[in-house]
Amino acid sequence: MKIDGTYAFAAHQDKVWEIFNTVEYLQEALPGCEKLDEVEPGKYDVYLKIGISAVKGKYKGKFEIADSKPPNSYRLIGEGKGLPGYVKGEALIELSTEGEETVLSYHGDVQVGGLLAGIGQRMIGGISKMMLEQFFKSIEKIVNQKVNIGG
């Protein structure tokens, strides 16, 4: 399943890059994130609790940031599993400056298994879009706070 999209932040690209590379911010912004541990530089263990209908459950996963090219792009490689099934995927995250804004674009390819696949890819598509939206909104909030504080 392909996941693509963009999101614009009203902040300098360096700032956005910094936020996207800070464990505490990611943990704060990730919907349902109970714990995020950096096991070694660029590698993380993550524990999520998701309460949305068919994908409801606890998930344990790990992800890795690879090919990091500050402040322009990195590759996100991850996998996670929970009772409803597993998710495995890879995404290219790119930042670019457009006027006053920083635009983040993502191109991902995700494989789902178990009941997660069985309940319908279109439903999963909707849920992941919703969660991403939530995630970016939270990041945006953090970005705005940082900008306002001028940090």
Partner: protein
């Protein structure tokens, strides 16, 4: 049409043939049915099953330590326990895979059980599943039948060494000479989908183990055949009589889904033994859709050798079935259940067959209503229409030229089937009249001129009922069979007893799932004894400890109307025979002079001296000394009947795979929306010959039910998988079942050719249109799309699939 009704013991037939109101309905409609989940036993704990998210993976480790510490958890069973406590199931193929009821060291389809948790309640059991850590090592999966046969395909079972569970060739008659005589050879490849029965009640088991007697009690909602009782005993390694099966009176539908091997009986039994408690497990809907059982999907390469005048001289086909990650009984039966009626309603003497049953990383299969026949007839009836189109013969005319003629009855098919009676051309004509065929062709012509896509689809098929278990045997070659015991039979058992106050109780092992056996048995007994059906009590609950049963017992393969009624009538007549002997003794006359009429027993010519059944029962129970000499006391009759036509396969692989054969003619007029691919039914006629109709309303229900089920498989339903073997249809949001809204108006007609093989002249009709509708819908949509040049060779014909067909045809034209 024959009008002579078969005689009954009490003089005239009064109740059989009437739409006597179903005895079952009041309790079912008012929520008083007693299903598996209504059974509450003491000290019961609840199971939840962990299932594989991978289609193909090695299991390196299953860590249950955290789950065991979870609140309310009593125990956990894994593949390791299952391997220690049970054997793989046997299966009628040369090398059976090691099919355990739970994955041991490898998973082969998504949803395969990996562990079972037992806890105080289902919620806690489900929570604990979350804590089981399974270390999977994913392997490449294969889902496509033909790709599974490629030399570089991942092999599922090392002990088999390839993905071929079963491969056989058959030769009946002389296909080569048919080809020489033919003017055209028409060939095509067809694909039949994997769809499900979706009964309202899912699988359910309650099992307990008695360590002192080393015996199990297993409540379940299995349909039969009770050969599975023996197979489960073999898997658990216990004698059959140490494993008691109880099936409640009410089962919420089966449609064949519950006739396949029922692995959960063994799995939950093992769990009960290990945990020492009574374990209850009710399958949830997602589990059911993901991993219970569907029909067998099939690829067919078929060729028909036809003469210019439309006569089909021979058929050659290669059927490639997949039974998924494992093969389990009665598979490879999907390929063989229809052997006797492979040439259907047509007089075709030459047939070459090749059969493959293939392993793929998909869910497992069971005999879905129509078992094997919808797969078969979709290819044979579509190729018949393709041949008609090629020869420029009208499809109705094409069928008339090939139908077996009434004077050919009884007809022995090239493959060993024995059709006892029937008038196929007359029944087909009735169907064409009902749909107003000629008028509809005119209508179609006009519609086409307006650019509308209107099509007419026909199918004429033979509807087999009461399988003879011999059909499973031909999965093996004649050589392989030589070392084994022959298999044959279709037996069913009934006990009729008369209590000390003269009440009649019928105890049967027919194990219905909604077919109305209580009602119809009451009608039959009422006619035999000359009483009112309301006076008859019928007990259909199954219990292996006190019912007579054999390996073929149960409700499947539309058995009741044929062999079930034979057993009812024979048991009733055995009971009446005894009653007449006692009556003769009491009346001090010869038995031959006893007359039974309207429930009265009297000396010939002296009705005023009549005694009633209660008097006879009274004597047999209350004054046991005064019985005819040497006679057992009490009043009862029993019968366990097979059919004389149930014989083993012969040395030429011919087998009478069923015992009675009905006929179905389907005529469907459709209109396809050229923009959306949506199909609308404009007119539909369905004519059935199932011999004597026992209860017209029940038959109507069966016919309409088989139609709506087949509409599902033809237009909407498919258990779909992606290329990784992930099931994409595990909820009713994606797995589309037709509802009342999708049910068209159908004109149902009947033709009654009384069977000479059954006591009442009846034949099965529970499956009927489930086998004729998929080809008829295929033919109708093919006919509608013909002006575009689109070819229909695949089901389901969903709007998007039809739209793609139309687009492809347009692209070809441009």
């Amino acid at each position: 049409m024959e009008d002579k009704k078969k005689p009954t013991s009490s003089g005239k037939r009064k109740w059989v043939g009437s739409s006597y109101k179903r005895k079952e309905d009041m309790r079912l409609l008012t929520g008083r049915g007693r299903f598996m989940d209504d059974i509450r036993l003491p000290n019961t704990k609840y199971a939840a099953i962990l299932r594989s998210p991978y289609a193909h993976a090695i299991i390196n480790d299953v860590d249950i330590s955290e789950a065991l510490k979870a609140p309310g958890v009593i125990g956990v069973v894994t593949g390791k326990d299952v391997k220690e406590m049970s054997n793989p199931y046997p299966c009628g193929v040369p090398i059976p895979p090691k099919y355990y009821v739970c994955a041991v060291d490898r998973v082969r389809y998504v949803g395969e059980p990996v562990a079972v948790v037992v806890a105080e309640n289902r919620y806690l059991a489900e929570d604990a599943l979350d804590l089981i850590e399974v270390d999977y090592e994913p392997l490449e999966a294969v889902v496509d039948i033909e790709k599974a046969l490629a030399p570089d395909a991942p092999v599922l079972h090392d002990n088999i060494g390839s993905n071929i569970y079963n491969h056989r060739f058959f030769k009946y008659g002389d296909w080569e000479s048919a080809c020489q005589e033919a003017d055209e050879i028409v060939k095509w490849k067809f694909h039949f989908p994997k769809y499900a029965g979706s009964p309202m009640e899912t699988y359910a088991v309650i099992a307990s183990y008695n360590p002192f007697e080393k015996s199990y009690v297993i409540y379940n909602n299995y349909q039969g055949p009770f050969v599975n009782h023996a197979l489960t005993a073999m898997a658990l390694g216990v004698p059959e009589n140490k494993m008691r099966w109880i099936v409640p009176t009410d089962i919420g539908g089966g449609f064949g889904t519950k006739t396949g091997l029922y692995p959960y009986c063994a799995l939950i039994s093992i769990t009960a033994k290990k945990t020492g408690v009574t374990v209850k497990w009710i399958e949830d809907r997602r589990e059911h859709l993901l991993a219970s059982a569907t029909c067998t999907d099939r690829i067919t390469y078929i060729e028909a050798a036809v003469r210019k005048d439309g006569k089909i001289l021979g058929l050659k086909d290669k059927a490639m079935d997949t039974s998924g990650g494992y093969i389990r009984p009665p598979e490879p039966g999907c390929a063989y259940r229809s052997t006797g009626n492979h040439t259907g309603a047509y007089d075709i003497r030459n047939l070459d067959r090749e059969v493959y049953v293939v392993a793929t990383n998909k869910g497992l299969t069971a005999p879905l209503r129509g078992y094997g026949c919808q797969e078969l007839y979709f290819s044979t009836e579509r190729i018949t229409d393709m041949a008609a189109a090629k020869l420029g013969v009208d499809p109705a005319e094409m069928r008339f030229r090939n139908l077996i003629q009434p004077e050919q009855m009884p007809y022995k098919t090239a493959t060993g089937g024995y059709y006892d009676v029937g008038n196929y051309p007359a029944a087909f004509k009735k169907c064409l009249d009902l749909v107003e065929y000629d008028k509809m062709r005119e209508y179609q012509k006009k519609a086409r001129e307006e650019g509308r896509l209107v099509g007419i689809g026909l199918a004429t098929v033979v509807d087999p009922s009461v399988t003879n278990i011999a059909y499973v045997a031909i999965g093996k070659t004649i050589e392989e069979r030589k070392n084994e015991r022959d298999k044959s039979g279709s037996g069913e058992a009934v006990i009729v007893k008369v209590d000390p106050l003269g009440g009649i109780t019928v105890i049967c092992s027919t194990n219905p799932q909604g077919q109305g056996h209580e009602t119809v048995i009451s009608q039959i007994i009422a006619d035999e004894f000359g009483v009112h059906p309301d006076q008859v009590v019928v007990d259909t609950q199954y219990d292996s400890s006190d019912r007579l049963y054999t390996i073929t017992t149960g409700s499947y393969s539309s058995r009741f109307a044929s062999v079930g009624t034979n057993a009812v009538v024979k048991a009733a007549r055995n009971c009446l025979e005894k009653a007449k002997k006692i009556a003769a003794h009491l009346l001090k006359i010869e038995q031959a002079d006893v007359v039974l009429e309207d429930g009265k027993f009297f000396p010939k010519g002296n009705p005023e001296k009549a005694i009633m059944l209660r008097h006879i029962a009274g004597a047999a129970h209350w004054n046991q000394f005064d019985m005819p000499e040497g006679m057992d006391v009490g009043l009862y009759g029993t019968s366990m009947q097979s059919m004389p036509t149930s014989r083993p396969p012969d040395e030429k692989d011919r087998v009478n795979s069923s015992n009675t054969y009905g006929f179905v003619a389907e005529a469907i007029v459709v209109e396809v929306d050229p923009d959306t691919g949506q199909v609308r039914f404009l007119k539909w006629a369905s004519v059935h010959d199932a011999g004597t109709i026992l209860n017209p309303e029940i038959v109507r229900g069966q016919v309409l039910g088989s139609i709506v089920q087949a509409i599902g498989g033809s237009l909407y339903e498919e258990q779909a998988y992606d290329e990784n073997g992930q099931c994409l249809t595990a909820s009713f949001a994606d797995y589309l079942c037709p509802t009342a809204m999708e049910m068209p108006k159908v004109d149902v007609g009947h033709f009654e050719s009384q069977s000479v093989l059954t006591a009442l002249g009846s034949k099965g009709c529970g499956e009927s249109s489930s086998m004729s509708v998929p080809p008829a819908i295929g033919n109708a949509i093919a006919d509608a799309l013909a002006p575009l040049g689109a070819v229909v060779d695949k089901l389901p014909l969903s709007p998007s699939n039809i739209w793609h067909l139309m687009e492809k045809a347009k692209a070809r034209k441009n």
